[in-house]
């Protein structure tokens, strides 16, 4: 009895649906119920609506489920509207002062319409030239952005080691803004050159109102972000971003070969080819994303390491919902948590850092609310 849980397979009905959309007609009402709850836990409710619509599967849902999906679409549409308004303010204000900003991740998806379907973003991420960082920060503070309240230790940690400054919040609109000067922490063993990213950035439209990374770099950034992340509560959502980014990038089979070579060459140039490899591998494994065959051939890892990572990612790229969390899930999370920290920092920095973070967490547990 005690060990029954260990052997029980974790069940994500959402993952099954994402892999094989054709199973939708077989779902019962309680199965849709579970599927939507898992999607909500994975921040994928809005996106699920688009995926079901794309495969003409909305007709199989009970009315109550449709109501919840429609509500999620309304929420994400409203959020996209807010992001566009905020981006407009930021771009025109900073450009006016001779400062360059480039939108990353969620905001970039919304502004370009690539991978924006039903996307929920908790904040706006921008990339700036490190030489302009202080000026950007100053200018933002002039118009109502302030650093969020965090501990002194965290503040120092951000400034010394991170690829971004502490999050800023707009005091009137409560929008949260992450200002980056690179796409991976400065402690990482392989650091991409941020200038190369900025050199090839693209305008979102003819009026050059906003800038985002080039389509290739958007993929690579999303990949490096997901596969260096230690806590994957948004992992499945990020993987569906990659799925959409790949589909957008490989939209013409006759160009597949050339594009995939370009993508790998760029990844090598930026020092992040391993992340690209994982992104392709797990999109293919977890979401059955159709990819050019040559993309899946090369393997930078030894087979044992790959076996362990396969196990870990298959069990963590699921909704963070009780119905998907068993022993395999917990173990995988733990391994990936350690892996991400070891990759991001040498041990002489990591050990003191983790002890301080764990102590901070322990203290919080005992605070009487």
């Amino acid at each position: 009895m005690l060990f029954a849980g260990i052997f029980e397979m974790e069940k994500s009905i959402l993952n099954r649906l994402l892999q094989t959309p054709s199973i939708a007609p077989s779902f019962s009402d309680p199965q849709w119920d579970l599927c939507l709850r898992q999607a909500q836990a994975a921040n994928l409710l809005g996106r699920l609506h688009f995926l079901l619509q794309q495969h003409d599967n909305l007709q199989y849902l009970p009315q109550r489920a449709l109501n919840h999906l429609a509500a999620a679409v309304l929420r994400s549409n409203k959020q996209h509207q807010d992001i566009r308004a905020e981006a407009k303010r930021l771009s025109s204000y900073l450009t006016e002062h001779g400062l360059e900003i480039t939108f990353l991740k969620g905001a970039a998806y919304v502004l370009t319409g690539i991978a924006s379907q039903g996307r929920i973003c908790s904040d706006i991420d921008i990339l700036v030239n490190k030489s302009q960082l202080n000026q950007v920060e100053q200018r933002l503070e002039d118009v109502g952005w302030a650093p969020e309240a965090i501990s002194d230790y965290d503040k120092k940690y951000y400034r010394q080691w991170m690829h971004e400054i502490p999050p800023m919040i707009h005091l009137g609109r409560q929008t949260i803004l992450d200002v980056h000067h690179n796409i991976v922490p400065l402690t990482a063993e392989k650091l991409p050159n941020a200038h190369q990213l900025l050199e090839s950035r693209c305008a979102t439209d003819d009026q050059q109102a906003h800038y985002v990374l080039s389509p290739m770099d958007m993929i690579l950034h999303s990949a490096v972000h997901l596969f260096s992340e230690g806590e994957l509560d948004k992992g499945l959502r990020d993987l569906t971003d990659l799925d959409l980014l790949f589909k957008h990038y490989f939209d013409d089979p006759s160009l597949d070969h050339c594009r995939s070579e370009q993508l790998f060459a760029r990844a090598q140039q930026l020092n992040i080819e391993t992340s690209l490899y994982y992104a392709l591998r797990y999109c293919h494994q977890v979401l059955k994303t159709e990819l050019p065959t040559q993309c899946l051939m090369q393997s930078p890892n030894n087979p044992i390491k790959l076996l362990i990572l396969d196990y870990c990612y298959q069990h963590t790229l699921v909704p963070y919902h009780s119905s998907c969390q068993g022993v395999n899930f917990e173990l995988s999370c733990f391994i990936l948590y350690l892996r991400s920290h070891i990759k991001k920092m040498p041990l002489r920095l990591l050990l003191p850092h983790l002890s301080i973070k764990w102590w901070q967490r322990a203290k919080k547990l005992f605070v009487v609310t």
Binding site: D29, P30, R37, A70, L74, K78
Partner: protein, 303 residues
């Protein structure tokens, strides 16, 4: 015949809610309730006893769970958490306020998630199929007036949230317990001798709170929608000699109502269209009162 909550013995009800969870229908929503807080189970069993039970083969809109945060906090200054689909939107509250926590939590959940309705912060009562919407800021006396009306010939549609349908021609009933605060508890106890009162929760963040059980008739007719008829902004004014009913301009009513909506902004243009249709089809008034009898007869005269 539909199965209702009081068909279960209290013991059986408690067993279900503590273990598998129990599916109940509250207004148009299917809710799965799980909890192991004994006082809450008592209160819920009393206040919601007429609600229909929903089968396990149905889609459930909201999975709600009320549980203490940890073993420690079950004994030391006990607290309770509110979970909606495993998500915890609020900080824990003292465990003896669990019933009030459930009501607030469900209000919040509906306002956030039920975007198929335009939702106005207001009481709604109905007579002859025609509904009066009574919006009011906290303290305006909307719940007091609502409790008085539903024990004097009106049907309770909602004490807290008016659910406006897609084309704004109908209001969907959400008959739940009426939430009385502070002095109004005594006022209604005196004014409505046949009202059924739940436990009094002293010193919550909103003062003393007591829930009045919805009349059976309101639950029996839960599937019957009502047509908008009038919008009346009540305000209780202590010591006023005469009840005053003043006609309000439609434009003014619309602007005022926007401030009382929970989800107007997110519905965008659709929200504006629904609200203007609603105002277009309703008579609009403000009502100042201090005497409940005279307020009731003033509203009676509208019909």
């Amino acid at each position: 015949m539909t199965l209702i909550l009081s068909t279960y013995s209290k013991k059986e009800f408690c067993r279900l809610v503590k273990t598998t969870g129990l599916n109940v229908k509250i207004g148009p929503f299917n809710i799965k309730l799980t909890s192991n807080v004994p006082t809450f189970l008592d209160n819920f069993y009393f206040l919601y006893s007429d609600c229909a039970i929903v089968g396990d083969d149905q889609y459930i809109d909201f999975h709600i769970c009320l549980k203490p945060p940890s073993i420690v906090r079950r004994w030391y200054r006990p607290q309770v958490n509110f979970f909606i689909n495993e998500f915890r939107p609020f900080k824990p509250l003292p465990i003896d306020q669990t019933m009030a926590f459930f009501e607030w939590g469900l209000n919040w959940t509906i306002a956030q998630q039920a975007l198929q309705y335009l939702i106005i912060h207001s009481a709604v009562v109905e007579k002859e199929g025609k509904a009066i919407i009574l919006p009011g800021m906290p303290g305006a006396g909307k719940s007091t007036l609502c409790a008085a009306l539903v024990h004097h010939g009106w049907r309770l549609l909602s004490d807290e949230q008016a659910l406006i349908s897609q084309d704004a021609t109908e209001i969907v009933p959400l008959a739940r317990p009426i939430n009385l605060k502070n002095q109004s508890i005594e006022v209604i106890k005196e004014f409505c001798p046949d009202a059924k009162f739940g436990q009094i929760f002293a010193q919550t963040s909103k003062g003393d709170i007591c829930h009045v059980k919805p009349p059976v008739s309101a639950i029996e007719q839960i599937a019957v929608n009502a047509q908008p008829f009038a919008i009346v902004f009540p305000s209780y004014e202590h010591g006023l000699d005469q009840t005053k009913l003043t006609t309000m301009a439609k434009g003014e009513t619309l602007i005022e109502l926007i401030n009382h909506c929970f989800n107007y902004t997110i519905l965008g243009l659709d929200g504006f269209k629904r609200l203007s249709t609603l105002v277009e089809n309703s008579q609009c008034f403000s009502l100042s009162y201090s005497d409940l009898n005279s307020a009731i007869s003033t509203l009676d005269e509208l019909y």
